[in-house]
Amino acid sequence: MDDPSQTARRVVIGFGDAANLPEDDDLPTESMPLNMGPSHPAMHGTVRMVLEVEGEKIRSADVQVGYLHRCFEKEAENATWTQIFPYTDRLNYVSPMLNNVGYALAVEKLLDIDKKIPERAQFIRVIVGEISRITDHLTCLAASAMELAAFTVFFYLMKAREWLWELLEELSGARLTHSYVRIGGVVADLTDDFCPKLRDILRRCRASIDDVNKMLTSNRIFRDRMDGIGIITRDDALAWGLTGPVGRSTGLDYDVRKDHPYLVYDRFDFDVPVGSKGDNFDRYAVRLEEMRQSMRILEQAIDLLPAGPVLIDDARVALPPKREVYNTIESMIAHFKLIMDGIVVPPGEIYSFTEGGNGELGFYIVSNGTGQPWKCRVRPPCFANLAVLNKLLPGLFIADLVPTFGMINMIGGECDR
């Protein structure tokens, strides 16, 4: 048995001598758990990451979602089909219009009226959707740049986002939670000077994006933080079901707008940018380019915008004009039934998917023939995208976590529903 005093004397704190260092260059340390979130400024929504770190290195990561769960799917079962729109606004809350459109398309397919939506309404849906896609990407890039200390970029991009949201506010009455789309079309026509305003905003936005491009793309500090960090291979992207800019950054050429065109996307000339390395920088670059492509679509859509109604002419689906409601019993009844009982959707099920801000936004809806869905399941793109983070983080530095997480662009409202 050793003499206890002798044992105590042999304890060495740290490594007293360089010769004692192991072969490995790293300073060996004890691993320790580190909680990031759920209430952490870099955890955008509310997500918790339980990391096992050794020094600055992440050994393993456990990404825990659900802190922003609001029972979207259960709430939807207790609302009429129309009352669900405000809930969809709160899914991906930086691109609410895209959720509105995605949900409306699903219900319209179930109602078998998807081919009867007025053309102008379809164009308007494309326009508001693409504006939302731009605001989605602007938010993502702005926040991520700021987290890398590029505060100027944050202001440049947020300013551009605000121009677009002001325009949507003018259109829908709400800056963020628009609830502008309806089953059968949209609630109201574009405001009178919407198109010229949009053209002007696009011009200014393009300038902002160019400025940001100049500030970041060849910026040594920014590139060092983004290049080669968080690499996802194309095979992994397929295996994990990654879509949207995250999937495309790996070279996976999948965009619902191109591969399964809906609304009138097949009439526009636009490109789908893809990355080659699947790292953070590619995700940044894909988003930057996608905004430019969205602007191309918007400009074409404004030019081609047809005249006509913006809501389907079907009293069983769309609310009649107020003048009719107050003055004729027919429209009064239709209004009453649509509000109190809801649109009667024939029994059946549908999976309908669109290109959301973060990728494939799917709605799987089951109707039992009443005014409410029996089931309304969402495939939130960033839920699948976020799942890959557990695999991505080990081996990175803690500091790399922030841009990597930022470029995945997890939106709590959508991910947790």
Binding site: A315, R316, E324, T328, I329, I333, A334, K337, M340, D341
Partner: protein
Amino acid sequence: MAGDMPVPAGARANVKMVIDGQAYEFPAGLTILEACQRVGIKVPFFCWHPGLSAPAVCRQCLVEIKGFPKPIPSCYTAVADKMEVITNSERVLDVRRQMLEFTLLNHPIDCPICDKAGECMLQKHYFDWDARAARNDGSKVGKAKVVDVGRHIVLDQERCILCTRCIRVCNEVARQQDLVMAFRGDRQLLTTAPGRRLDNPYSLNTVDVCPVGALTAKDFRFSMRAWELWATPSVCPGCATGCNIEIQAARNVVRRLIPRLNPAVNKYWMCDDGRRTYKPLHENRLAAPMIAGAATSWGAALTEAARLLDQARDKSPATLGVVLSAQMTNEDLFAFSRLATECLRTDRVYLVGAPDGWCDDILVSADKNPNTTGAKLIGGPTLRTAADLKRDLEGGVVTALLLVGEAVGPLDSLQTLVAVTAHQDPPVAAAQVALPLAMWAEVDGSFTNRQGKVQRLYAALAPAGQSRPGWETAVRLARALGAAWTYGEAKQVFGEVCAKVTLMSRADWGKPEMPVQLRFANSRG
């Protein structure tokens, strides 16, 4: 409904016919409309009602029959061999729409203020079969909005679509000609017959059958939107007939009682008196257990009640009586009977109840208690009567009483009185201990009607205040008196009743029923 029953293969005297290209076989004598309902083909109607004759005035059920030049009302035409019926051709749908357009032409724009909105057949048919915008922008023919036609009912002549259902209810159910149509064309209106008012004992059935909001019940109108109500099946406690009803309640308050189809008991109807039986549910309820007039906890009250009863039993079981009521459910009656014989060891069990009243040969019984049959079956031949109780109280034969029913005779001579009661009635003041009792709409239970049918009650409301079902109070009293009873729910008590009472041996507790919100019950209109 009978319309949902499958067609039995090889039934007697069948006719072979074709509806919408599909061959069917029906028993002779059926109308085309009934035939369509049996096989699930939807044909709209306003004036037809399964419990009434068919005058074919609304022309909503028109169908085409091959070989007939004009569309034919299906509610009025019997099925026949080799008949070919088309219910959904463009022509049929078009004539129905045109008839509906006539109906809507002068219909007031009242949905927001109309009590029928949400359960209105006009709304439903317009939405299901028409859903087209108005083509007429002219002014509507005005009629009287508020006509006080009877004790319980207000008529809005503008809303009336002239289907005559209410007239037929009066003529065929109540057998009194109270209502008639007057004038013609767009000035035609529903009114009371000369010198009469809509005061027959079944008048409120006219409100139920009214497809629109023309006839509204004074009791219900403007009190609650129909679609906010939750419906629970139950049985009317008004008399021994036991009409099947639906309790329609919202936020723990009953708003109306509606008859529920039972071909063997009440068909589609119930009497006006029965509709008011929900009133005592919300009036003057005893909310908490009382000891000597002061509110207390259940635990303290039960201990005190058990002590008093124990004392009375030990002193002289022959002077200890238990009073049961024919208003109680089978479960309550059984539990308290068992308490009397097993725990209190007395055979002095009295059956009281509401006094007899008026009756007719339609639905109303003279016996105003819903469960006299059940009480007599459970109590057996030794049951004493209300007259016995009165005599025994006056004679001082009974000195201690567990009172679960109505008080008969003077209570002031009693040394011990434990009252289990739903209301703040005189016995509460006289009782040393009063325990609050849940009423028929607040419990799961059963009544046995005058025909011997055991019919289920379902709890539509939470019990008022701290009141508890009677059987549960009996169980707790029994435990306080040292018995080891284990009933945990009414169903167990019911099972034991069925096992003990031969005539109830085949009674069935049935399936659980949840309240259904009328809003999403697919607009019953």
